[in-house]
């Protein structure tokens, strides 16, 4: 078994009992944990298993499901060339997770975008100002209940 297959197996062996869901699909290991264990798992991935690059933080909206939002993290190991996906679920009433900015600086902008688009709070990220949207924009556009064409113009139209 080469490194590309061995590393996910080691992560799986370490975490499958503590994760809510753990599977390898389309060549990538995906783990789902409770929001409280997120930072613990991310630290383990970084320090124990060598996933030194946090590629991306994003969200997925599943309206009608409780908890409603998936927060999805993608990690990459520049030493072993392996990717891992980490997921956690947060409810609509309290969409908050701990921020990973203490571990990875690349989380800063990605978490800001996720907050903009979904309204997910990242506790510990000091700067959650709108990044893709603008000041005064009400709502979170990537939620399924935000109508695609509802514009909130900043400049009043002519005539």
């Amino acid at each position: 078994m080469n490194v590309a297959e061995a590393l996910p197996q080691r992560v799986l062996a370490r975490w499958s009992s503590l994760a809510q869901e753990a599977a390898i699909a389309h060549g990538t290991l995906a783990l789902r944990v409770a929001p409280e264990r997120l930072v613990e798992l991310a630290s383990s991935l970084k320090l124990e298993f060598g996933f030194d690059l946090l590629l991306d933080v994003t969200g997925v909206d599943w309206p009608g499901r409780d908890p409603r939002f998936d927060v999805v993290y993608h990690f990459y190991s520049t030493r072993d060339f392996v990717r891992t996906r980490l997921k956690t679920r947060v409810p609509e009433c309290e969409p908050a997770v701990d921020s990973l900015t203490a571990l990875y600086n690349s989380a800063r902008f990605a978490e800001r975008e996720c907050h903009d688009m979904f309204g997910i709070e990242f506790r510990g990220n000091a700067d959650l100002r709108p990044i893709l949207l603008y000041e005064g924009f009400v709502g979170h556009p990537l939620r399924k209940d935000y109508p695609k064409q509802r514009e909130q113009p900043l400049v009043s139209y002519r005539k």
Binding site: H26, D52, L55, S106, R129, L132
Partner: protein, 407 residues
């Protein structure tokens, strides 16, 4: 003629103008030639030195991910093109590859090779644009004109194949839109020879130029550990000395069968980023020549009724093909439920597509991991401590593409 009420400020700066004595706060952009039109940098200056920089992107946020949720998987290809519009074909193929992996479709060998060739061709166009813009902003107008003229030859050549100059929509799920027209490969060789000549001239003008070295060496220095921590990939990471390239590390398409090097820099400054891009263009030319020699014959699109449109002749004569065609166009290819993250080596770094499907012709979620966005997240580290005039080449060397950064 002024408006009755003052115009609103779309952003909230991180620091105000009067926080510290002895410093001035200026807003550079968002309509500025050096910030490529869509980034605003609020810079606190102490004399000429930038003490703090607060970078604001998002001025070109066009709602790509929201659009994706109301179009079929194949109708998204024009939107995907316009992410990194300098190298549009790479986006097409990365997206199509992600959908194909989710559908477990294997593309034909000819398609694999042709996608590799066109991806490298697009990469050349992107590096030409980045280098040309950066050199022009430093004042080297001649280099800009050489490189943009060359890029125009590329555009016309790609227009002969795809029909469009800048944004092609050429990739299809399961293959490509059409095969090469006759004479295309001959013209390709002519253009590659022109490229060698023009790029050689630019090297001669700029590489050992005292002014260029003074402006670019040791400016905007990025250390390799810091680069990985801030999420940098692509030529920027390679310029710091880290030889990470998805084409070599986890080969996809036809890269495993090609012979090429991964150029790596030494200091991670602007000069190294410029030079890594110039060397990458040489490597891309090498790869294109190798592919052009051994392009396998065969069909361009895989014969799979789940994604490939049937031939028109069959559509007009057989009822099954008619229905297949109708369903593919109106409902889109049915992608099985699941999720995937697939990344290609874009011209700027790791371009990843995270797709979530609930089984159906319309995606549930499409997310782009845009390298430009991640790079802009860390760019204040490259600006702080340097002079205001250094902002221009540093920003240019990062190659922030607005469409990719803001999506």
């Amino acid at each position: 003629m002024s408006s009755e009420t003052p115009l609103p400020n779309p952003i909230r700066p991180a620091f105000g103008p009067d926080e510290r004595a002895g410093t001035t706060v200026v807003s550079i952009g968002p309509s500025h030639p050096a910030t490529h039109g869509t980034v605003q940098i609020i810079a606190e200056l102490s004399g000429e030195r930038i003490v703090r920089a607060d970078v604001h992107c998002g001025y070109l946020h066009r709602g790509f991910e929201k659009e994706c949720e109301s179009h079929t998987w194949s109708n998204l290809i024009p939107y995907v093109d316009r992410l990194n519009y300098c190298s549009a074909l790479i986006n097409d193929f990365a997206y199509c590859d992600a959908v194909e992996r989710l559908m477990e479709i294997e593309i034909t060998p000819r398609c694999r090779y042709l996608r590799t060739l066109l991806a490298e061709y697009s990469r050349i166009a992107d590096h030409l644009t980045c280098t040309a813009a950066m050199l022009m902003e430093l004042g080297a107008m001649t280099a800009f004109l050489y490189l943009v003229t060359l890029r125009d030859y590329l555009y016309e050549h790609l227009a002969a194949l795809t029909g469009a100059r800048v944004t092609y929509s050429f990739g299809r799920i399961g293959g490509l839109a059409r095969d090469l027209p006759p004479g295309w490969l001959e013209r390709l060789e002519e253009i590659l020879r022109q490229l060698d000549v023009f790029v050689g001239r630019v090297h001669g003008l700029v590489d050992e130029n005292r002014i260029f070295i003074d402006r670019m060496r040791d400016v905007g220095v990025l250390r390799s550990q810091e680069a990985i921590d801030w999420g940098y990939t692509g030529p920027v990471l390679r310029s710091t000395g880290v030889p990470r390239d998805l084409r070599k590390d986890t080969p996809y398409l036809a890269y495993a069968e090609l012979d090429f090097e991964v150029p790596v820099g030494i200091k991670g400054d602007n000069y190294d980023r410029y030079y890594v891009r110039m060397r990458e263009m040489d490597e891309s030319v090498r790869m294109i020549r190798q592919i052009a020699e051994r392009l396998p014959p065969g069909p361009i699109s895989v014969e799979d009724r789940r994604c490939t449109l049937p031939e028109k002749q069959l559509v007009y004569t057989e009822i099954e093909s008619l229905i297949n065609h109708f369903k593919l166009i109106s409902e889109g290819p049915q992608v099985p439920a699941g999720e995937i993250y697939a990344a290609h080596e874009g011209a700027n770094g790791e371009l990843g597509f995270y797709l979530v499907s609930t089984g159906g012709g319309v995606p549930h979620r499409v997310h782009v991991r845009a390298p430009s966005f991640v790079h802009v997240g860390g760019i204040h580290r490259l600006l702080e401590g340097y002079q205001l005039a250094d902002l221009v080449p540093t920003f240019g060397s990062i190659n922030m593409i607005g469409g990719e950064c803001d999506r």
